[in-house]
Each structure stands twice: as structure tokens, then as C-alpha cells.
Point group: C2
Chain length 422, copies 2
């Protein structure tokens, strides 16, 4: 498979320099365009491989796939086939796209199989059952603790013993491109005698990565850290939009609710775990030692560069944050082992997000809350604008890619505009 570093792969498809969608990546998504109904595609360079047409033309005939598996508006059924099958499908596509492979390149159906990516509309790729949001960045949890609780004891006593998380709202997860209305709600600033009501005044993004589960468990069963990656299909960028004033007032004692549930945005291409294999690294050391069910024998962190840009309406975008997925204290295997240790069942298409990914350096903080230190300092944007929190019309752009040994695997963009309250 391509993920070895020993040989360089090239393709007959046009792949611009610094494209996230190289022959090594081949993420899955759901697309449609003016002519085509929703279907499964794989991104490569400027194109999308229409898997439904590829299947119709017999390129998967030896796999005995269920009829119509690629004619769907979600990936759930495809993912449910299991990793053995989805891996074979992705490898077959890779093989067909290789420079010297003439099977598709010179095939009469090539024009129908290869769809222009810029003419496609990308849909939410998965019907999400349950959504969990972790809180796995030490730096983020420390920053929030300093601001909202006690600077001396920023990290709560449980934080280094378990990957803290909460259940999020699945219904309001939307794909890149869908604008987000500024939510209304209650807030009570320290100077207010009683709570006020109105559009949030502290709108924020949270830079996260999320994984999509690819295998179910039965109620009562647990997944070990060793087996956890068998249950992970792939990753997307995730913007956990947050209304800080609503959140601050509501979150005690049961956690975030309306401060988050108005919308969460995800990037439309699911980058498979296989595509990220080449970028696996050790995570931060964990001290104190974790309980045995959270112990990992092998690394489960990934070196993925992440960034956030803010683009005021009609203006240029400015990069405001540069972070990395490898900073996460708790890794994905630990998150999944923790989620299921009590016997909680998972289904194909659950989404588990990392929580805000902040690093040590100030420019690596993954939210406006941290970057502006709860509004205490302004961020300078190119073109003279300043921000403490987001303003109506601002577009938040998240990007992520891994790169090593000339191999690049990226997530594309997650780009959503904040629009005024309804």
C-alpha cells in the first residue's frame, strides 16, 4: 500500500502543488452537482472519483459489494462494510489512479468517473448517531481553568486521570459552507444583577479534529486501547462553535448546553486512518501514570498541522492560530477506551471530537477565548481590523495537513460564515 515511504507514487490526475488531496490521501465524501444526485466520492487533486460510476463500470466487480452502496447521501452503509472492504476500495482507487495504470485513464467512462471538484457540492458525509466532545488538550483546559476558575489550580483534579468529555448535540452538526446564525440566549456578566437575553456577544470557534467510528459495539462491551483504532474510520476538521457568554452562565453543574448546541461544523472529506499512518508519532508523556484501561503500548498520536484563519466580510483572511494535533494529551485510543469502559455502546457514524487543540505558544491557542484571553486583548487582523470575539460576517477557515518525506495528506478546508442572529 501507498503508505510505505519507500516509493513515490504519482498519478495521471492533475494534483496542484500543496494539494491536500494527493494520491496518498484519497478521503471519502458525499457529493452532488447540478447533474448528479448525492453519491460517494473520493477526492484526488482537482477531481472527485465518482465511485458509483466506477462500480457501474465493473471496477469493483470482484469485491461483491451490496448493490447501490455508492448511491447514498451518507457514508454510513459503506463504512459499515468494515475496514477490510473500505480499505480494499480505497486501494483499488489508488491503483487505478497511478500514472502508469491505463485501466481507468484510457477507459471510455473516464469522463463520467472523474468529476470536477470545484463544481461539486459537498454534503454532510455521515449521519451522526451520537456526538462526544472531549477536552483533551492540556493547554486548552489549563487556559480555560485559569480564566474561569482558579489561576493557581487551573487544572481540575480529575483531568490527568481521565479524558474529560461531554455529550454534544448531533442534530446541529453541519458541513463546511453552511452559514451559522449567531445564537440568542441568556447570559449574566459579573456586573449584571439578573440575567439578560439576546444575541451572544462572545462568539467563538474551537479548533478540533473529530473521528468517525467505523464499527459498532454491543451495550455492555468495552473497547481496549489496543483495539481502539479498529473502530476508527477516519478524521475530519471540526469547529465546535461556542457562545462563551451563554456557556459561562449555563454550564454549572451539568456542562455546556445551549452555548454549543446551535451548530458545529465539520469538513466534508473523511481522511482515513490508513492515510494518516505515515504521520503517527508519540504523544506527550503522561504523568501521573494512567489507570491500566487507559494505558497504551503503541503510539496513537498524529503529527497534523492545523490552522485557523478569520476572514472579515469582503476582506482578506488572516491566520490567527497555528496548532498541531500531536499536542493532545489524551489520544484517540484512550478517548474511545474511556467512552466505552462503562459499557456504553457505539454505532457506526458516531463522532468523537478532540476538544480545542491548543499548544504551549500563544499563537497556537485554538479559540478566540484563549487568543484574546477572554476579551482582554485584541487580535490584529490584516487590513486594520481587530477582534476579541467573532463579528457577524466573519468567516472562520480551518485547515489541516500532515507532511513528511514529500508525502502530504490534508483535510481541505472547513469554512463557515457567522451571520447575524435570526
Amino acid at each position: 500500500m501507498s503508505d510505505s515511504t519507500t516509493n513515490t507514487l504519482s498519478t495521471w490526475v492533475e494534483v496542484p502543488k500543496n494539494s491536500d488531496f494527493t494520491i496518498y490521501n484519497l478521503p471519502f465524501g458525499i457529493f452532488k452537482n447540478k447533474r448528479l444526485t448525492p453519491r460517494v466520492g473520493i477526492a484526488i487533486g482537482v477531481k472527485i472519483v465518482d465511485l458509483s460510476v466506477l462500480d457501474r463500470e465493473g471496477f469493483f466487480s470482484d469485491f461483491f459489494l451490496p448493490e447501490g452502496i455508492f448511491h447514498s447521501d451518507v457514508l454510513n452503509d459503506l463504512i459499515s462494510l468494515g475496514k477490510v472492504q473500505t480499505k480494499k476500495i480505497r486501494e483499488r482507487v489508488q491503483e487505478l489512479l497511478l500514472e502508469d495504470n491505463e485501466k481507468l485513464r484510457d477507459h471510455s467512462a473516464r469522463g463520467k468517473v472523474m468529476v470536477n471538484r470545484k463544481e461539486a457540492e459537498m454534503l454532510l458525509p455521515v449521519k451522526i448517531g451520537d456526538y462526544t466532545d472531549f477536552y483533551s488538550s492540556l493547554e486548552h483546559a489549563t487556559n480555560v481553568g485559569k480564566m474561569f476558575r482558579d489561576p493557581e489550580n487551573a487544572l481540575l483534579p480529575n483531568w490527568k486521570h481521565l479524558p474529560v468529555a461531554y455529550h454534544g448535540r448531533a442534530s446541529s452538526i453541519i458541513p463546511s459552507g453552511v452559514p451559522v446564525n449567531r445564537p440568542k440566549g441568556q447570559f449574566k456578566n459579573p456586573d449584571m444583577e439578573k440575567p439578560g437575553f439576546g444575541p451572544s456577544k462572545k462568539m467563538d470557534f474551537e479548533l478540533e479534529l473529530a473521528f468517525i467510528t467505523g464499527k459498532s459495539t454491543k451495550l455492555g462491551d468495552s473497547v481496549s486501547t489496543e483495539d481502539a483504532e479498529d473502530y476508527i474510520f477516519g478524521f475530519t476538521l471540526f469547529n465546535d462553535w461556542s457562545a462563551r457568554d451563554i456557556q459561562a452562565w449555563e454550564y454549572v453543574p451539568l456542562g455546556p448546553f445551549l452555548g454549543k448546541s446551535f451548530a458545529s461544523s465539520m469538513s466534508p472529506w473523511i481522511v482515513t486512518l490508513e492515510a494518516l499512518e505515515h504521520f503517527r508519532v508519540n504523544g506527550p508523556s503522561q504523568e501521573p501514570e494512567v489507570l491500566p484501561y487507559l494505558n497504551c503500548e503503541t503510539p496513537h498520536s498524529f503529527d497534523i498541522n492545523l490552522e485557523v484563519q478569520i476572514q472579515p466580510e469582503g476582506k482578506k483572511a488572516t491566520k490567527v492560530c497555528q496548532s498541531n494535533f500531536k499536542y493532545m494529551y489524551w489520544n484517540v485510543a484512550q478517548q474511545l477506551a474511556h467512552q466505552t469502559i462503562n459499557g456504553c455502546n457505539i454505532n457506526v457514524g458516531d463522532l468523537m471530537a478532540s476538544g480545542t487543540i491548543s499548544g504551549d505558544a500563544e499563537e497556537s491557542f485554538g479559540s478566540m477565548l484563549e487568543l484574546s484571553w477572554n476579551g482582554e486583548k485584541s487580535l490584529q487582523l490584516d487590513g486594520g481590523e481587530e477582534r476579541t470575539f467573532l463579528e457577524d460576517g466573519d468567516t472562520v477557515i480551518m485547515k489541516g495537513y500532515a507532511e513528511k518525506d514529500g508525502i502530504r495528506v490534508g483535510f481541505g478546508e472547513l469554512k463557515s460564515q457567522l451571520i447575524p442572529a435570526k
Copy 2:
């Protein structure tokens, strides 16, 4: 319709004295038995009306229902038809079951339409999209605050301003009858230096009612308290199983997670809002005044008697709690208005649970946590057993019914056994 108090209705079906499933109730559920695949039924006395057979025999032919609407293992599609249709279906069934109506009573298919309830297996009636658990009982929130936080300031500052809630785990909601494994997890009692791991030692129930949403909203839209009941299809009993030691250690700052997500049980019959109309009452007065979006012009509380029994394995059941839904400080219209005020979209089949329903009196406390005051005092069960929290083999039985003017509408039983950790 039957819900008027002026005339007494009777039916040709055998309805034992004190049956929850009177001619006034007619709740919807999904059942199967040895012969029959899953399908939609309506409970009446000792019987279930098999709506799929009723439909096949032409009893709904003037309603122009979608083909196969009653041949489903969930009620979602039926509920999605809307209240106008589901109300008509329920009213047609009621009409057919009336003492003097010979249409079904004397029909040759009567034997196939009327299925014995005790031979039926009841399934989870709804595919639940998102699950919200509120925290709407003043007495419960006060009790928990006294035990876990500050007896002098038991209620947190936000509690009387908004119906506090958290997102729960939808995947692990199971129907009555399915046993629940004691969950394993981390806990840290005050006397422990570092967290321990193992089966929870503080297993608890929470007595709740839940409503199922019957209408969707679009992202960005809100539901007013005035319109809220249009979005509520019906109610079930709900046991929000809780592992208090796991919960106490994990819940700061993001709320309950593994202490709850291992299982929640619901009763299988959905009692419609129409059937509860006759039991509508004013809720407690709310002081301080709520914000306008939470204000209600009309009552949205219901006088529903609730009780919990504990049955040790092989022993008799003992009633340990007697409460009432009308005690709830925040009503269902306020809950739904709050859930959507930020634009969070709801889908048909979402479940919103009340939170533990405790009253003023000690015997009305809706959890072992409160009844045993976090283990400080033992509950005496009939037969000499004592309990502070639940023991393996204990069956928790919840019941609920409304009764007035000789009209009774009940929920049947929610009965689940706690079994040892896996």
C-alpha cells in the same frame, strides 16, 4: 373525542380494574411476538390492537396513509405524519373499540387484529436522534446541591432562570425488560489518594418522565412556549440509571458522562399528549419571574402519580418512592422553548427527559441518592433487606398513572434488572 369528561366510555375489550390502558389512553408502541414481525400497536386492556392488520382490513382506507406505515420497528415514520394524522388514527381506534361499535367487534378479522398483550414483546418504540436530560425538579436540584456542594447555597444562581440540562447518550437508551450491567469506571472517594477503578459501588435509579418530539424544526429556528406542545408527541417513563461514584469524580467541569451513558431505560408505550389533556394542572409558581421566552400563558403541567419499587432478586417488591410529575418547577413547554432558543434544531424522535422528579416529602425523592442521603441512611425493604444504593439482582420498577373523574390513563411498567458488571 374521549378526553371530555362529560360522557363515560366503555369498550368491548377486557380492561381489568385499575388497568393503565383504558379506552381513554390508547398509547402507541412497537411489538412483536413469536408469529409476528415488529409492528405498530395500540394498547387496550389485556390486548394490543395490531394497526398493520387493521390497516390491511381497510379500517384506515379513508386516511390515505403511506403503504406499510404500520410495518416498522420504530414509530418515527408514523409520528412524522404529524399530529393531525396520528390523532385521527388514535380516534378511529377508540371509536372501533367502543362497546356498541360492531365494526371491529363483530368482524371476521377481529382475532388477528387483537393480540394478547402478555404474549407480546415490546421493543424500543422510537429511534432516538438526540437525547436531552433536564434537571427541572427544584427539590431534586436542592437535595443534590446540599449533598455535593453547599447546604447553605444548594441551588446554583442560574437554576431559577433557566431549565438546566445536558445532552445525554442516545445509543444506550433501552426498553423496559432489558437488564443493565453494573458499569465499571473511575471513582475517587474523599478518603482515596488517587482514583480507583472497578464496578460502581453507588448504583442508582432516577425517576423521570420523558417526552418524544413529534415535529422537526430547522436549524436557526426556535419554538415558543405557546407552540411547544405541537412539537410533543407523547410521554414515557424514564429511568436515568446513574453511577454516583463515577459521576461525582468525572462531572466537573463538563457535566455527567460515563456515570450515565451506560444505560437509560424507557417504558415501551408512548402515552400521547391528547390522552393526558384531562390531567392538565398549573405548575408551581415561578419566582423570580422568568425571561419572556420562558413565560407561559397557559398551564403545561400534568398531574401524574409516579412511584418506584425495588425488588431484590427472588423477593417481593417494596415501594420506595411516590412522587408526581406536577411537582416539576420547569414545564415541558419551557424545556422545549429553552432547548431551541439558540436555534438548535430538533428532529422527530428526539427524547427530552425531565430529570429526577422529587417532591417536598422525603418519601417522594426520586433517587436512592436522595432517599439514602448519599448512603447515610438505609432504606428498609419488605422481607428484611436494606438498601443505600442498588445491589446486583435488584429490579427497579417504575409506574405512573393519572386518574380523575373515574378516568385513568397510565404508562404501564418500566421494569429493569441490575445485573453484575461484565
